[in-house]
């Protein structure tokens, strides 16, 4: 296949193109919506040819490194760069004074300096930059920068931070409202409160026959994507810059970079380099502005690649949460009320904290119908590492609490935990705690019933236990005397796409021309492919809508309108919807051209297998003949239906465009003497509305399930006095193939009439329900309350 006419000039063409800049993706796979064709980047990824952001290269490039604060809270008295700058091989050393534009950035609130000016608010905050001709020289030079700190005692407890007597030392000035800010986010003008969300529904004094109370906490999880933060900034010689970077949302990066550099969007062009996983951790800026600053200052391309330790400081994490819940029910198990207080520790800067509070609050009691609800959810500034987006943001934390409460209530009532959940399950037409009527299928009860009907894995044979199958494997410390098996269930839900009145949209440009007698399509969006398979989905939609086989995926860059964020399970819905709209516009143009060539009525004609066909299937002409020499190109935005800001006092409103429901059953063997665990099986049932690519859907469910399980039993960034204690893969554990059990999965397809093809966002839901199911199984096996995750061996053994 040869390259067709280019729709636009790629950003890379304007300057020298780095080795490893993305090319067009094309393959011989076939298959439209509802099939599972091979991904266009698949062969490149298995041969090692696919270049990631850390693989970019230019022969004359410099290497940039970042000097970070060792203190979680300190005033910077002075910075002395002389010794660093004098190091042979060093080309530039930059500090806050060198930020060309405004020294501020932020995803939802502009509250974080590009380089710390007078105060550092977390350990790892960027203070200075070095560019040198070798990465080791740059690192050694950075160590020679002398920063004189006046060290302050950090504020590290979210609840203490609210009302702390020194609160206004954290943020001297009120954070600014920017485009992304939900005005529903009540930003405290001076304090540590980022957002307080209140939900008040029904009667706060309603009495119940049975009341259960619990306090729960969730540790700080890391996205731990394997491809570290990295990119290459290339100056264009005219004051502008091209940035090749791994990210989740090119256009929101571009907006923040322009502000910090004092440049216009046409001067700051971004191209998505290969992304080695994201999971929310690339939604905020990392090296973006720093690399551009060094490139513009030196006039040379600058590459920056974080190492693993720096990566733990280089991106936001999942908010730790402290939660207090009170559930009241009648004797027959009907929920009467739920009250809860939820504290999210946002760390030093806001990042996505307002949205995390929004999700954690509005969906904070789970997919259940409850007439009387009081929820207070807080997002708080502290001197801990900044927290923001991670898969299932806001909902993962609360799910551990509300599902533990449901089990506690079931035990108190003497009910089966599934029966209790089914009795109170949301369904289509139910009203959420924030007063939104669910207006598409909500098969909560069916998810649970299907899970219950799935066969359980075989019980271990008590007489002849294979030591190798025990928790801890062949460590062989016991002979299984203390091993008990538990089974736990959880059902959860989460919003898809952006909420609370935000005008969420994606853009797609679709071009078609006849090439060697065959129609050839190029699809161009700025929506980030981070591994989930969006590039495959874009091809599939074009094939279905335009009746063609050959679809090329254009590199993702800012030469086309925003694709929105690859987050909130939104890209297939939003960018998939945009591609569909652009295809429909292209189809109309093709039919218009065809009318010049035939008198046959075309109003009901369709594009199938390269031809224009009548409703009865008769071929009128080929698409290539209709197009002739023309190059048809259409660009469309896809906005989802409007949502509303919620009422600041009652929390009521049409806040979310769509919900995604999933349920898990976990089977866990627990060595109660050693505190060791083995997850034996993790079964999942999820409603996806319509599976555009069934294999990719299952892959998302497997991956999300593994990450949720990881938070339940092993993953935590341990922070003490504001400092990270375990910034490595030796001490921050993520599941291996040995930890990951078989995962029986059932995918339901109940179409959402409001969504393209009826689909539901898939990626986050399984991350939310898997962890609570694992925790429930461990509780069942041990009889312990286990109110904190990750559950560690000492929590089980009590030692």
């Amino acid at each position: 296949m040869t390259t067709p006419t280019q729709a636009t000039t790629p950003a890379a063409a304007r300057t020298r193109t780095p080795i490893g800049a993305p090319g067009r993706l094309e393959n011989d796979a076939k298959g439209g919506v509802g099939t599972s064709p091979q991904r266009p980047d698949g062969a490149l990824k298995v041969t090692g040819e696919f270049a990631y952001s850390s693989d970019l290269w230019m022969d004359n490039m410099l290497w940039g490194v970042t000097l970070r604060s060792p203190h979680p809270f300190a005033r910077i008295r002075a910075v002395d760069i002389a010794a660093a700058l004098a190091t042979p091989g060093v080309v530039a050393v930059l500090t806050a004074a060198d930020v060309p534009g405004r020294n501020v950035f932020g995803l939802e609130l502009s509250d974080q300096p590009v380089l710390a000016d007078d105060v550092v608010r977390y350990q790892g905050e960027a203070v200075a930059l070095v560019a040198a001709d070798h990465p080791e020289i740059a690192r050694q030079a950075a160590k020679k920068i002398r920063v004189d700190y006046q060290v302050w005692e950090p504020i590290t407890d979210a609840r203490a931070a609210l009302g702390h007597p020194t609160w206004n030392r954290l943020h001297d000035h009120p954070a600014e409202d920017v485009e992304l800010s939900r005005s529903a986010a009540a930003i405290h003008p001076k304090g540590n409160l980022v957002r307080h969300l209140k939900i008040r529904k029904g009667d706060p004094d309603e009495a119940a026959d049975v009341v259960v109370r619990g306090e729960y906490s969730v540790g700080m999880q890391d996205q731990a994507f394997l491809g570290p933060e990295s990119g290459l900034a290339v100056p264009d010689g005219e004051g502008g810059v091209d940035l090749y970077v791994a990210t989740q949302w090119l256009h929101v990066d571009q907006r923040q970079i322009c502000t910090a550099l004092g440049l216009t969007p046409d001067q700051v062009r971004l191209t998505l380099a290969g992304v080695g996983g994201a999971f929310g951790g690339r939604e905020d800026l990392s090296m973006h502005v720093h690399g551009c600053m060094l490139a513009l200052h030196t006039g040379k391309p600058v590459k920056m690649v974080y190492n693993r330790e720096e990566s733990f400081f280089g991106h936001v994490h999942r908010h730790p949460a402290e939660m207090r819940y009170e559930h009241g029910a009648t004797r027959d198990g009907t929920l009467v009320f739920v009250n809860c207080d939820i504290y999210f520790d946002g760390g030093a800067y806001a990042s996505s904290t307002p949205a995390v509070v929004g999700n954690g609050g509005t969906m904070g009691i789970g997919p259940y119908v409850v007439p009387n609800v009081r929820i207070d959810a807080y997002g708080v500034y502290t001197n801990n590492p900044p927290c923001g987006a991670m898969r299932g943001f806001g909902s993962v934390q609360t799910a551990f609490a509300y599902e533990a409460q449901m089990d506690l209530l079931a035990a108190e009532l003497g009910m089966d935990p599934i029966d209790l959940r089914v009795r109170n399950a949301m369904a289509e037409g139910s009203v959420t705690p924030h007063g939104q009527t669910i207006d598409s299928p909500a098969p909560v009860a069916e998810l649970l019933q299907r899970l219950r009907e799935m066969p359980l894995p075989a019980e271990p044979d008590g007489a002849d236990i294979d030591l190798r199958s025990l928790p801890g494997g062949v460590a062989n410390s016991t002979h299984g005397e203390g091993v008990k098996r538990g089974v736990g269930y959880a059902v959860t839900y989460k919003n898809v796409a952006f909420s609370e009145g935000f005008d969420d949209y994606s853009t797609a440009r679709v071009q078609i021309e006849a090439h060697q007698g065959n129609p050839l399509v190029v699809v161009h969006t700025a929506a980030a492919e981070v591994g989930q398979g969006l590039v495959t989905i874009e091809q599939q939609i074009c094939r279905t809508e335009l009746g063609v086989e050959n679809v090329i995926v254009h590199p993702k860059n800012t030469d086309v309108g925003s694709g929105g964020s690859t987050s909130a399970s939104r890209q297939t819905y939003m960018t998939g919807g945009a591609v569909k709209l652009a295809c429909e516009a292209v189809r109309d143009r093709i039919l218009t051209l065809a009318r010049d060539r035939t008198d046959a009525p075309l109003d009901d004609a369709a594009l199938v297998d390269g031809n224009i066909v009548t409703p009865s299937g008769a071929v009128l002409m080929s698409i290539a003949d209709a197009i002739g020499e023309a190059v048809i190109e259409e660009t469309r935005e896809h906005h989802h239906r409007p949502t509303e800001e919620i009422d600041p006092e009652t929390g009521q409103g049409f806040a979310h465009v769509q919900y995604s429901f999933s349920a898990h059953r976990a089977v866990v063997d627990v060595d109660t003497e050693l505190g060791l665990l083995k997850v034996v099986e993790l079964a999942c049932v999820q409603d996806v509305g319509k599976a555009l690519n069934a294999d990719a859907v299952v892959g998302q469910i497997q991956g999300g399930s593994a990450q949720g399980m990881g938070l339940a039993i092993m993953e935590e960034i341990v922070v003490k006095d504001g400092k990270i204690r375990n910034p490595s893969f030796t001490d921050y554990l993520i599941p291996t193939i040995l930890d990951t059990p078989p995962m029986p999965i059932q995918v339901l397809e109940y179409a959402d009439p409001h969504a393209p093809y009826g689909l539901r966002g898939v990626g986050e839901a399984p991350t939310i329900s898997s962890g609570p199911a694992v925790a429930a199984a461990i509780r069942q096996a041990t009889g312990l309350p286990l109110t904190r995750v990750p559950i560690r061996p000492e929590h089980i053994t009590g030692t």
């Binding site: 298995v46 090692g48 693989d55 490595s728 599941p735 193939i737």
Partner: protein
């Protein structure tokens, strides 16, 4: 020094502190092997050194003189993808793909180890009876995949093992 990579002898002038991984990536332009942690914790840099699985980030390049280094770039033949590569594509053994070169090289080495009759920690008898799921899990546990494509990786390797 001379380094033999994928059957080709390459002349290199290196600082003697250079790791094999940096020699491959930054001096030979072979970017397929990935630097996920640089501490031997993630397995993304796995190559075969004289046929054995090795974390290239933990080996100094100067120690590799006279030895044969096999990387992901040399795996596919003139007839197309190696069976392990093909199985990873067919069974969705990856998403972002960053760990994939290391997973595949590790799998190729693992299959060879199994062929030679090497037992693993879960092998009941000294001579493993077959490449069962527990055997594959144990033998592949040094390669992290954050996308959680382990079910696909297991399926891919089960498929390859059943065909060989």
């Amino acid at each position: 020094m001379q380094l033999s990579v994928n059957g080709q002898s390459r002349d290199l002038e290196l600082d003697n502190r250079t790791t094999l991984l940096d020699a491959l990536r930054e001096h030979l332009g072979l970017i397929g092997s990935k630097k996920g942690c640089d501490h031997g914790q993630c397995g993304a840099c796995t190559v075969l050194l004289d046929g054995r699985r090795t974390n290239a980030c933990l080996v100094l390049a100067v120690t590799c003189a006279g030895r044969e280094v096999a990387t992901i770039e040399g795996l596919a033949g003139p007839d197309g993808l190696h069976p392990v590569q093909q199985a990873f594509v067919e069974h969705d053994g990856f998403q972002c793909g960053y760990c994939t070169p290391g997973q595949i090289m590790s799998a190729v080495g693992m299959l060879e180890e199994f062929e030679r009759g090497w037992p693993s920690a879960v092998t009941g008898e000294v001579q493993p009876a077959g490449l069962t799921a527990p055997e594959i899990r144990e033998r592949m546990s040094g390669n992290l995949c954050r996308c959680g494509a382990y079910v696909g990786i297991l399926a891919a390797l089960t498929d390859v093992a059943s065909r060989s």
